[in-house]
Symmetry: C2
Subunit: 289 residues, 2 copies
């Protein structure tokens, strides 16, 4: 495990209520859903973006943990029987299988306000009004015009033929919104970026977000359940449109490469401070799980 | 409908995304869950508490809407098949019956960040740091040591015999936390209260919150489904411990009266500015639905 992942694990451990705190079962389920798993891509992006603005890592840790809690809750709810009905996630039983449906529902419900709570109770910006803006960014990214909206669009797409722009629209919401929030919030922990720089950073975030999803689709059809730590081949089984189903495997792989190059290009004006963002685009596209 | 309820309905209409905004079905479900129903007890409490501190009603409207969105989402999730599996709420079909389970899950998931979003994007306090504190109050009240925690305790209690203090502990979380947040946030929209006054106000909030629940239990066993607009008698059917099952109907009624007197007493030092809070304690205890 890398240094940042280890740091995040410790931070999440600290921010989550202890298993012995009442209600114990709920807190155990919340910790089960968040700890000890995942690639922590969003935290890695937040820390890398923080390097652009010389952000204090203690601040970045808070925004990264908040984003990761939102991400973890979305996985718990996405795996529920009324959604994807999945039994395996991050190489472990899904939360509702390990506990029960009602507890998994509530664990997700309680992780969401915890994200806003930690973002409100730690100083993550130089001025309180800037911090309020960061709270708003996380709220919008999580909501009906962000991640939750993307889930709803995804639901509506099952069994339908989508065009490439329609598929992109769905992913820009479903996974893109929170990835963009991780990048933007990480950068906002440090000194300001001008509008032009922020625009480039957001373009980077959009591009790696899409690349992440394209690669997910390629891996879902290519890799095994054991490697992924989640059920492989489930998109096809659920009749979900994917980059692979629309473009074919070879063109989906080529698209991921194009997006990687586009992400790198978006960083060109930042120089050496963007090295980690650059490397993360590689990590996201070249990963095998 | 009273003036404040009408004002709240208009505010909630405005704060919720339009039905025509993509994803339409999700936004329709969110609007269905929030609009056109409910007693709006929490908003009434927020406005009444705002009168204590000469709060600008435009600010109170925002915090009341945020609290009501959290409340509405909790009802949607509470009615889901894996929780109470209820089909009737506020005289209408529950959200998952009107739409479907996945949409109801996501509507609740998306109402929660919308509450934090509106509280972040409108000025509700004189200073930004005071506003961050208000965001934190809402987050804590909604989370695992507040409302969501109360739901988990409630789940764990099904089929068990509880003592009166155990039942009270559950309700202080399940409904009390958000009622307290409504009162405290309403008051915080205006001038500051000193620690002693805030303590009295919180005692009032705790007392009316419990009174609300005692009366709910009495009505659940006393009134008809048509009057309540939700399924009557369901606590007994679900083997949930209630004030009536522990105390009996007569003693539960007497407890509601005691709590009403205690709530009134907590307000005594506030004088005329507390008239509406005083009257709301009456409304909460004397209501028939």
């Amino acid at each position: 495990m890398g240094t940042i992942q280890a740091r995040m694990e410790a931070a999440l451990q600290r921010f989550l209520p202890a298993s012995e705190t009442v209600p114990e079962r709920l807190h155990r389920a919340m910790r089960y859903a968040v700890l000890g798993g995942g690639k922590r891509v969003r935290p890695l992006l937040a820390f890398a973006a923080g390097e652009l603005t010389e952000a204090d890592p203690a601040r970045v840790e808070v925004v990264a943990a908040a984003v990761e809690m939102i991400h973890a809750y979305s996985l718990v709810h996405d795996d529920l029987p009324c959604m994807d009905n999945d039994v395996l996630r991050r190489g472990k039983r899904t939360c509702h299988v390990e506990f029960d449906e009602a507890t998994a529902l509530l664990a997700g419900d309680a992780l969401q306000p915890l994200a806003f709570q930690i973002l409100a109770e730690h100083v993550v910006a130089d001025r309180p009004d800037a911090q309020i803006e960061m709270l708003k960014i996380l709220a919008v990214a999580s909501g009906s015009r962000g991640m939750a909206g993307g889930q709803a669009i995804d639901l509506a797409c099952v069994g339908k033929r989508l065009s490439l722009p329609e598929l992109e629209f769905m992913h820009i919401h479903k996974t893109g919104a929170l990835i963009r929030a991780a990048v933007v919030l990480g950068a906002r922990c440090g000194h300001g970026l001008d509008a032009k720089q922020l625009g480039r950073l957001e373009h980077y975030a959009k591009t790696v977000g899409l690349a992440f999803q394209v690669v997910d689709d390629v891996l879902d059809c290519d890799a095994s359940t054991a490697t992924l730590g989640k059920t492989a081949g489930k998109d096809a089984a659920h009749e979900k449109p994917t980059y692979v189903s629309i473009l074919g495997l070879a063109d989906a792989r080529a698209l991921a490469e194009e997006l990687r190059a586009e992400a790198h290009a978006a960083l060109s004006s930042f120089g050496a401070t963007a090295v980690r963002l650059h490397d993360l685009a590689d990590f996201i596209v070249l990963r095998k799980f």
